[in-house]
């Protein structure tokens, strides 16, 4: 009973907030709705018995990715009038995408209700005495180890690529030399002198 209630609660909020991502006029509000959608999707994952995935979803998407989104969106100086200007021009393309998506949805629901693929059994959690993390770990590091490492290499290449693309040496920049700063001692920088009256001193 409580599962059913929780499912409909999470599902409704996911759909509603996903709609609000598009309908919100302020892009920062859009990102906030997106975060709410992520959060409730994590709730749905919990209901499916995938608590590890749920936590990862929150940590990675809500905790890191969405923060960067928010960062970028806050920095942007968006002209709303310009955004809405091309509505008629993009209407045919938008309509095409909408029709394709709608057709896919109809086909998916139709195939599912026809019972062609036993999706329900796949979505349900595998009953086991092992915890989620152990199961994923055992699969990931034994059967799918090469795929896992390949994914790691792809990410590494992407990371190096991003660094190479953005890294440039700029002239005239004063950088901190931390070890030099740490080695600096009072006697290197200061001098204690005792000048006589009216004599002054040389620096």
């Amino acid at each position: 009973m409580i599962q059913l209630f929780a499912f409909y609660l999470f599902a409704t909020i996911v759909i509603a907030s996903a709609a609000m991502v598009i309908f919100a006029r302020n892009p920062v509000h859009s990102v906030m709705w997106l975060i709410l959608a992520f959060f409730n999707a994590a709730g749905l994952m919990l209901l499916a018995g995938a608590e590890f995935i749920a936590m990862l979803l929150v940590i990675v998407y809500v905790g890191a990715v969405a923060v960067l989104f928010l960062f970028v969106v806050m920095m942007l100086d968006i002209d709303f009038a310009e955004l809405r200007a091309g509505f008629v021009r993009y209407l045919p393309l938008g309509a095409l995408v909408a029709i394709i998506l709608a057709a896919e949805l109809i086909f998916a629901v139709g195939a599912w209700s026809a019972g062609g693929v036993d999706l329900a059994a796949r979505a349900a959690p595998v009953v086991s005495d092992k915890s989620n993390i152990q199961q994923i770990g055992e699969l990931l590091y034994t059967r799918y180890i090469f795929l896992f490492e390949a994914a790691g290499i792809v990410l590494l290449v992407a990371m190096i690529g991003a660094i190479v693309l953005t890294h440039r040496k700029r002239g005239g920049v004063r950088t901190q030399n931390i070890s030099k700063q740490n080695q600096r001692r009072p006697q290197d920088a200061t001098r204690l002198v005792d000048p006589g009256v009216g004599q002054g001193m040389e620096l």
Partner: protein, 347 residues
């Protein structure tokens, strides 16, 4: 607790619900009281180190100072700046406060005395603490004022940076404890240090991680010396500048609840949680919750002590410490620890 309610003749489902609500209240209400007292303690310790007297007027020894402040703040008017984004401006302190309370659900106060004994407890804490940054960013942006916005940018960069190294440090603990469950982590520490001390921190391999975690938790809660988000000489009061009355108080409470949470995490993850410090039978006669509170208070004292003595970091130093020192070392330590465990435990 559920069993007690069932034995009173309650329907099991209702008993579970009532027990959960009671558990939440049992954690949240004392926590609020603890936050009020800990603010007082913070000010007193700070004053003692600065050779001042600190709050000493309201109540005996000024003990009621926090409550007087709370009442004053409660009676003030909530001012929303005219240029502010009203909805987000009001939601931001609520997020900070709620998130600060949420993480306590998985903290074990004694053997089995935990509200939600889930097997991804540590990940839950990471997930919840990563939410804390939203309160700060939103308040900075919604205030529509430049100093809060600068502060929000600083805070988000700082929190994200240190969350990375905290994540890696926690993996070291998880590897040793062989579980993400907070209670299991505490139990794994029994007699761990040199065979007699109940703490991961006394393991030579984990001690550097314990030190890094303490420093990272200072940075994560934006306490001195990492309080660049509230650097009063540069940013007025940081992201809280435009806030007044209760909305300000929620930030204040949330901040200190977060500090307490980080102290608790230090105690639970590295220094034995509710276990007595030494694995010696008579010490177990003392309830575990008292050991835990003693450890939390000790770490809170360390936090206050650091606040009173260490000067504020520069922003580039802060980022360097996070990305160039803590991140590589904690990453290296994962390799070291897993290699050590493969040699000793799993071969």
């Amino acid at each position: 607790m559920t069993e007690t309610f069932i034995s009173w003749g309650m329907d099991p489902n209702w008993a579970w619900g009532v027990a959960t609500i009671c558990g939440i209240l049992l954690i949240a209400l004392p926590l609020m009281l603890a936050v009020a007292m800990i603010i007082y303690a913070d000010r007193k310790i700070w004053a003692a180190i600065a050779l001042r007297r600190g709050p000493n007027v309201v109540g005996p020894f000024g003990l009621l100072q926090s409550f007087a402040d709370g009442l004053k703040v409660f009676l003030q008017e909530t001012i929303v700046p005219s240029g502010a984004n009203r909805g987000l401006f009001l939601i931001a302190p609520i997020i900070t406060f709620t998130v600060a309370l949420l993480a306590w659900a998985v903290i074990p106060f004694n053997s089995g005395a935990v509200l939600a004994d889930i097997n991804v407890g540590l990940l839950y804490i990471l997930a919840i603490s990563s939410l804390g940054v939203y309160g700060v960013i939103l308040s900075g942006w919604a205030s529509n004022s430049k100093y809060p916005f600068f502060s929000a940018m600083r805070a988000s960069a700082q929190m994200i940076s240190y969350e990375v190294s905290i994540g890696f440090i926690l993996i070291g603990v998880v590897l040793f404890a062989d579980s993400f469950n907070m209670n299991e982590i505490v139990k794994a520490q029994q007699g761990h240090g040199l065979g007699i001390v109940n703490a991961f921190g006394f393991n030579l391999l984990l001690f550097p991680l314990a030190v890094m975690f303490l420093i990272s938790s200072l940075a994560e809660t934006a306490r001195a010396p990492f309080d660049l988000t509230e650097a009063e000489s540069e940013l007025v009061a940081g992201y809280q500048t435009e806030y007044s009355s209760m909305s300000f108080a929620l930030f204040w409470l949330g901040e200190y609840a977060n500090v307490l949470l980080m102290c608790t995490l230090n105690a639970v993850l590295f220094w034995g949680g509710w276990l007595p410090p030494i694995d010696w039978a008579p010490l177990y006669a003392v309830p575990g919750i008292i050991w835990l509170f003693a450890k939390i208070l000790f770490f809170f004292f360390v936090f206050s002590w650091v606040k009173a003595t260490v000067p504020r970091y520069r922003y580039d130093q802060l980022m360097r410490l996070g990305w160039k020192i803590f991140l590589p070392i904690s990453l290296l330590w994962i390799f070291l620890i897993s290699g050590y465990l493969m040699l000793t435990r799993y071969s």
